[in-house]
């Protein structure tokens, strides 16, 4: 994995106070001092951003070379952590630097809400509709926020952790038979 290898700069950086960001992320780290850049356990680049500055951040990331929109999804950390319940996860790819960036945006509330990034990456359109449909996260500024996977009259958001899988009990006939 080329994108997981730490750059030589990181390895030699002695002072822990300096944010350990790769050079291609330096403009982002400079412009967004409150964003947390970290490496996942398997060595992938993750940035944690507040939802209020998501659109600006994504715009800056696009200017910094992350030209390709890859993915947008959400994770429901129901009863797994204190603090915001959901993470909106945005995946970006830079072909120029051959790097990936994953942006985690914590959102919370009964009707969780995050800003839509369709103005920056129009490809997020269907992805945000999917997250709206399955998680019930409201994307403000989305041009066409409707259900996409399920019928319109569906009740609830099935990928939330407090929604059951929806399995029906399997009825076996002739259960008295000895198998």
């Amino acid at each position: 994995m080329t994108d997981q290898m730490p750059t030589p700069d990181e390895e030699t950086a002695p002072e822990p106070a300096a944010p350990p960001v790769a050079p291609h992320l330096a403009p982002l780290a400079e412009a967004f001092p409150e964003a947390k850049f970290e490496q996942s356990a398997a060595g992938q680049q993750v940035a944690r951003v507040e939802s209020g500055r998501l659109v600006e951040f994504v715009q800056a990331a696009r200017d910094a070379g992350f030209e390709m929109f890859i993915d947008l999804t959400a994770v429901d950390h129901y009863r797994q952590r204190s603090g915001p319940r959901y993470d909106v996860v945005v995946g970006l790819l830079s072909l120029k630097h051959n790097q990936r960036l994953r942006i985690l945006v914590p959102v919370d509330g009964d009707v969780p809400s995050a800003p839509s990034i369709t103005d920056v990456y129009p490809g997020a359109n269907f992805y945000e509709r999917e997250v709206y449909d399955l998680f019930g996260i409201d994307f403000t500024g989305h041009p066409d926020l409707t259900r996409i996977m399920l019928p319109d009259d569906w009740d609830g958001h099935p990928l939330r952790k407090d929604t059951p899988v929806g399995a029906v009990p399997i009825q076996f006939r002739d259960t008295n038979k000895v198998l």
Binding site: A41, I70, V75, P143, D144, L150, D152
Partner: protein, 470 residues
């Protein structure tokens, strides 16, 4: 969404309460006898908000939302366009040329497509939810049914993501088997594509030929994995079983048989003036639009962008094999065709190298945490039996963390995003599928083209609806 569903019927009619038992029975009788349904049934089963609004009701924002903000065009808001006589044509979800259950709504002005809205979800299987109820070892069973033309790629992607979280290494033979199977799978997937692409353009004999060659591959898959599709062969920790005896002869047979078929296809299609006329300059997309919409794989490479994850972010030891990345120039249907045809040749080139250099050794990792003991040991040792039992009932625990693994599937970047909380089942499984991104781009590729070209465009992005809806 609520403000969008104010169509006339819903504004005038109060919503009907849930049907009672007698009403349900009456409804059933009506269905059985073919009587027309009451209006409230029709209203309650229609998916109003997801559909395309007629031009006189659609605002500029609605129009923009259908295709994404990139393609907002002044043309859409011009008065003359609004006054033009247009028809909304519904295509699908049950249509022979939509490759499954894709539904497209096309606004036509004569024969020219003005607006397109894909309506998806007709094959939504809830696999991401089901994935949370299966252990990591059972996970490939689930994801292999997602993109059913590229089952090995799905299994490989899930397995790689799990292995990255576990931090285990694989023996070289396991990796070589994985490369062998995925590259053969790429060929079999592209063969289905060329069969359907030909059939959709009227060359029905292509359908017969493409599937004829595919049978060769499926026979080999069946011999190796036990099933023709949905194999569950590549698993976290390696592969399920070693290659069968005599696999070399089978692969040699494939390496000889497929190129013969490919030359037939070239004779039939590549220089066929009808095929050229229907594909060249049709369904053009630029590389910038590909970036913005997350379109990867052959459609991206057809625009001339040299981006193949097997080269740039290699996985499973694929970097040790030599192959070229075929590129197009114009980003039209024909370039996607040539790119895929050449990709099959390159995949066979990888396969022939794997055949020559297949290392000996284990076909799965020796890490006892994820690998069940061999069958022979179970007969001898109680501990081995218990261990085997625990792996297959309880599963192995995967350290907490999250990982996004991407591989180059036949349709583009296939990514699995796994979140583990240290249990034997994933907390969240998300699949980033290439067809989902590609379906979104249909409005760009089809806009202002003839309705007959829409068929060529759909076939050229090679969508698999299981991959789109999951």
């Amino acid at each position: 969404m609520t403000d969008e569903v104010t169509t006339e019927e819903e504004a005038t009619e109060a919503p009907h309460p849930a049907p009672s038992e007698t009403e349900r029975r009456q409804l059933h009788d009506m269905w059985a006898s073919g009587t027309e349904e009451p209006a409230w049934v029709v209203a309650s089963t229609a998916e109003g908000a997801q559909l395309m609004l007629p031009r006189d009701q659609a605002t500029g924002e609605d129009v923009a939302g259908e295709g994404g903000t990139l393609v907002v065009d002044d043309r859409l808001f011009e008065d003359e366009a609004a006054e033009a006589e247009t028809t909304i044509l519904n295509m699908g979800p049950q249509h022979p040329s939509t490759h499954g259950v894709l539904r497209l709504q096309l606004e036509l002005e004569g024969e020219v497509i003005r607006r397109v809205k894909p309506v998806i979800g007709y094959l939504h299987t809830g696999m991401e939810k089901t994935g949370e109820t299966l252990t990591f070892l059972q996970g490939p069973t689930n994801v292999t049914r997602m993109d059913y033309l590229a089952p090995f790629h799905n299994e490989l992607c899930f397995s790689l993501a799990t292995e990255a979280l576990l931090g285990i290494e694989l023996p070289p033979r396991a990796e070589a088997i994985r490369v062998l199977m995925t590259e053969l799978n790429r060929v079999s997937s592209h063969l289905t594509w060329v069969a359907t692409q030909g059939m959709d353009l009227g060359a029905v004999s292509m359908m017969i030929y493409g599937i004829r060659e595919r049978e060769l591959l499926l026979a080999f898959f069946e011999k190796t994995t036990g099933l023709r599709m949905n194999h569950n062969y590549i698993r976290p920790g390696g592969v399920a079983a070693d290659l069968p005896d005599g696999w070399e002869e089978d692969v040699v047979g494939i390496l000889e048989g497929i190129p013969k078929g490919l030359s037939d296809y070239h004779d039939l299609l590549t220089n066929n003036p009808i095929f050229l006329g229907r594909t060249q300059g049709v369904g053009v997309i630029t590389s910038e639009e590909c970036f913005a919409y997350g379109i990867t794989g052959p459609p991206l490479r057809a625009t001339g962008v040299d981006w193949d994850l097997r080269k740039t972010q290699p996985y499973s030891g694929i970097e040790q094999y030599e192959f070229d990345v075929p590129l197009g120039e114009n980003g039209d249907v024909y370039d996607r065709y040539t790119v895929r045809m050449e990709e099959m040749v390159q995949s066979l080139r990888i396969v022939s190298q794997v055949l020559e250099t297949m290392p000996d050794g284990d076909y799965r990792t020796t890490d006892l945490k994820v690998t069940p003991p061999p069958r022979k040991r179970i007969d001898e040792s109680m501990e081995a039996l218990i261990h085997h039992f625990k792996i297959f009932t309880e599963g192995f625990k995967v350290p907490a963390g999250e990982h996004y693994q991407a591989i180059e599937g036949p349709r583009g970047e296939l990514g699995h995003y796994l979140v583990s909380v240290g249990e034997a089942k994933p907390w969240r499984l998300h699949c980033r599928t290439p067809s989902f991104a590609a379906i979104q781009s249909l409005p760009i590729m089809m806009g202002d083209q003839l309705i007959a070209d829409s068929i060529a465009v759909i076939a050229s992005i090679d969508p698999v609806l299981g991959d789109v809806d999951r």
